[in-house]
């Protein structure tokens, strides 16, 4: 198996999946998700703590000596699949990205609290930021670490959590840690397309940031977070797609029209077969990305961009087919299909659209665009 990524699930991963799925089945049924979306607090922090602290998922990839479980992106990807299947309204992607950032940056106490599930965290960048993007210029840091600026469309901002803020100061780029509840931090909620992962704008007005990475490591730490986030998002998208396919197959296996089970109509069957093949392929792509991240492969940027370029489309396609093949019921607010559609569509934009990932691949695999004016 020289050089091939391990694309299977280990027994440990299967057990982890079962544990996460159990918790979500009990605490995150579709009706609860819908109710949560319409509440004042769109993230379910009780569920987050159950997953993050009780199951230890927040520190899954954090080394044991740093307070975590010492597992890898492979296991975290399995968690993301399950969270995607449940469109769980928990700020987990932000935490996953923050722990990847802090694996490079230096904030052991904060990392320990995050890993323990006590402290939700997010990286203060627009959710649409693509790996490889230039270091953000939205926030400026003073010599004393005072942060000033505005970051739009940040996901997973929790009132009692912490933000890792890329900001440029007198010494160049840096990363700063600042509690969401600190003085000088204001969160502006945004009415979001994705009801289960709303974004918010964050305004820094002289907030006191604590430097966790300086000019030497800040860009590298941020990139580690973006790359891990994008790779893990592919597994979430796989989970979204897989669940949409399952719901649709189950519904059409029961629903009758014209005195036949609708799922026996060949046009429907062929579309579902094609969708199944896409989901199967998405799994291979997402696993390859997770494995590459897990072993810090130099191929990780390619594996992640392949997975993002592919899985984004599959999740949207699956959610769109889910709505269409459910017919009218799939258009109603009460049916969960729309929650998946909105998540899938927002995920397509998150951490690089498929087109932006293909542009990254063009450079990485030496398939350049034409010279200008050709």
């Amino acid at each position: 198996m020289t050089g091939s990524p391990d694309l299977l699930y280990s027994d440990v991963e299967d057990d982890l999946r079962a544990a996460v799925r159990d918790v979500l089945a009990d605490h995150c049924p579709p009706a609860a998700v819908l109710a949560r979306c319409e509440s004042a607090q769109p993230y379910d922090m009780a569920l987050y703590r159950r997953l993050a602290a009780d199951l230890g998922l927040a520190g899954l990839t954090v080394p044991e000596q740093a307070g975590g479980q010492g597992a890898s992106a492979r296991e975290l990807a399995v968690v993301m699949e399950e969270l995607g299947r449940a469109v769980a309204p928990v700020p987990f992607l932000g935490v996953a990205m923050a722990t990847a950032v802090l694996a490079v940056a230096d904030a052991p106490q904060t990392l320990k609290r995050i890993a323990a599930g006590e402290l939700p965290a997010a990286v203060a960048v627009p959710l649409t930021t693509t790996p490889g993007a230039a270091f953000p210029a939205a926030v400026r840091a003073g010599a004393d670490g005072a942060l000033t600026g505005r970051v739009t469309s940040v996901a997973d901002v929790s009132a009692d959590g912490v933000l890792l803020v890329p900001a440029t100061g007198p010494d160049g780029p840096g990363l700063f840690e600042v509690p969401v509840g600190a003085a000088g931090v204001r969160v502006e909620p945004v009415v979001s397309l994705d009801l289960t992962r709303p974004v918010a704008h964050v305004v820094f007005d002289g907030a006191a940031g604590r430097a966790v990475a300086g000019a030497g490591t800040a860009a590298r730490a941020l990139e580690a977070g973006l790359l891990a986030g994008a790779g893990l998002l592919a597994s979430e998208q796989l989970g979204v797609a897989e669940r949409c396919l399952e719901m649709t197959v189950a519904y059409l296996g029961e629903r009758r029209q014209f005195a036949r089970v609708v799922g026996s109509f060949q046009a429907v069957k062929h579309r579902l077969a094609d969708l199944w093949q896409e989901v199967v392929s998405a799994r291979a792509a997402a696993r390859a990305a997770a494995d590459a991240l897990a072993v810090s492969s130099p191929d990780a940027p390619v594996a992640v961009s392949v997975a993002q370029a592919y899985c984004s489309r599959v999740a949207v396609h699956a959610a769109e087919e889910c709505v269409q093949l459910h017919g009218g019921i799939g258009m109603t607010w009460e049916h969960p299909a729309h929650l998946y559609l909105k998540r899938a569509k927002a995920d397509e934009l998150a951490l690089g659209t498929p087109g932006r990932h293909r542009a990254l691949l063009a450079a990485a695999v030496r398939l350049p665009p034409p010279a200008p004016e050709s």
């Binding site: 009415v191 949207v316 709505v323 017919g327 009218g328 934009l349 932006r356 293909r358």
Partner: protein, 406 residues
């Protein structure tokens, strides 16, 4: 596909454009729109036969060719006359009125058509049911005869305007012992009758554009039956055909419809442009232009009285196109595509597929391939009726409705 009775020169009963213009002039002389109250004006216009040129005299028409109505409308509009806000009463005008004209008793036509046209009475349609979907004829709402009235129990869904409607066209099962298409009867249902309960049906966009209607022991006089007992499926076919004729009615300009906003965003916000999105935008632009030309061609066919099968595909084509373009626009918007205007549950008066923000358009367009005939059903219709391919084997046509597998 058309119900047009054709003709551009002087047609039935000697009516031509000049005669219509003369009639409008006389009417306006007697009813100055500037000083006449709106409802009074509309009633008088109906009575003058200027509502539907092709309807009979005395029922809002002149017995003239359908196409002459456009002449009257243009003259009246030019004179500043109020219209009947056709979008608000589309179901009455487009579906109920032609069905009543064709199948109604003289008393029904007399009673219903005038306030329907003036907009004094709004109509809705009680056809769809939660369990039936595309298999509309499998409906379960029961109507049981009790002397001179019918007692109706059941549930309808996807009813727009139900909360403002005075009347509904309703189909219900009156005989479960015969095959499903033969045991249905068509009624006019009083939406203010006891036992009619209307509940808003919230949808994917956050709005409640439609309603659920629960019917519990609703009594309908037999005088409000439309067509014969057991003949409701045939009557409903006339209604649905009129629904589909409505499509392709409004010509789009180039770059009109869903592509307009996407193209505008591209032009106005150069910072959003990427190489990857450029060719996709152009592909969609080409598809939109071709779909527009396709609709234009259907309209030209109708205009010369030579309708072809091409009309069958318009809804199918526009549904897919609207979905692709709106999905593209959300992607083009990038960070702004993560936003949504408003999730508050409102009950909109009218629906604009091309309105509000990109997220709304994307979500609302998902309904285009479901409402008014799913794209799957439309493909079946094209394959069987246009291409002549054989129907799938069916075993639900000769079985009593009550014995069908559920």
């Amino acid at each position: 596909m058309t119900t047009d009775d054709g003709g551009t020169g002087p047609g039935s009963a000697g009516w031509g454009p000049d005669e219509v213009r003369e009639r409008v002039r006389e009417f306006l002389a007697a009813h100055d729109p500037a000083v006449t109250e709106r409802t009074e004006f509309l009633r008088a216009r109906f009575d003058a036969g200027l509502a539907w040129a092709h309807f009979p005299v005395g029922l809002g028409g002149l017995g003239a060719p359908r196409s002459l109505q456009a002449v009257a409308d243009a003259e009246l509009a030019a004179a500043g006359a109020p219209d009947n806000d056709p979008q608000r009463i589309g179901i009455g005008l487009g579906m109920a009125a032609p069905t009543i004209l064709r199948y109604g008793t003289p008393e029904q036509k007399e009673r219903f058509l005038r306030p329907l046209w003036t907009g004094e009475e709004v109509w809705c349609q009680l056809f769809s049911e939660p369990g039936a979907g595309s298999d509309l004829a499998s409906l379960r709402t029961r109507a049981v005869r009790d002397g001179d009235t019918w007692v109706v129990d059941g549930q309808k869904v996807w009813t727009s305007s139900a909360h403002t409607a005075r009347w509904a066209i309703l189909i219900a099962r009156t005989d479960p012992d015969v095959p499903k298409h033969r045991g249905i009867t068509y009624f006019v249902c009083d939406m203010t009758a006891p036992g009619v309960e209307v509940r808003p049906l919230r949808q994917i966009t956050g709005e409640a554009e439609f309603n659920e209607v629960f019917l519990t022991g609703v009594r309908i006089p037999d005088a409000h039956r439309l067509g014969d007992e057991g003949d409701g499926w045939r009557v409903a076919q006339a209604t649905l055909m009129n629904e589909r004729v409505a499509i392709g009615g409004n010509p789009l300009p180039r770059e009109g419809g869903m592509i307009a906003r996407a193209a505008a965003v591209w032009r106005e916000r150069p910072e959003l442009r990427t190489l990857q999105l450029h060719d996709r935008l152009l592909e969609l632009w080409v598809e939109a232009e071709v779909a527009r030309l396709g609709a234009e061609r259907v309209r030209q066919q109708l205009a010369v009285g030579a309708p072809g099968p091409e009309g069958s595909g318009l809804k199918l084509a526009f549904a897919g196109l609207n979905q692709r373009i709106s999905g593209f626009e959300v992607e083009l918007l990038g960070e702004d595509g993560l936003r949504y205007e408003d999730w508050t549950m409102v009950r909109p008066e009218k629906v604009d597929f091309y309105g509000r923000d990109a997220g709304y358009r994307y979500l609302r367009a998902k309904g285009n391939s479901i409402e008014g005939g799913t794209s799957e059903i439309l493909r079946n219709i094209i394959a069987e009726r246009v291409l002549g391919l054989p129907a799938e084997p069916r075993n639900d046509k000769d079985v009593a409705w009550k014995d069908l597998p559920r």
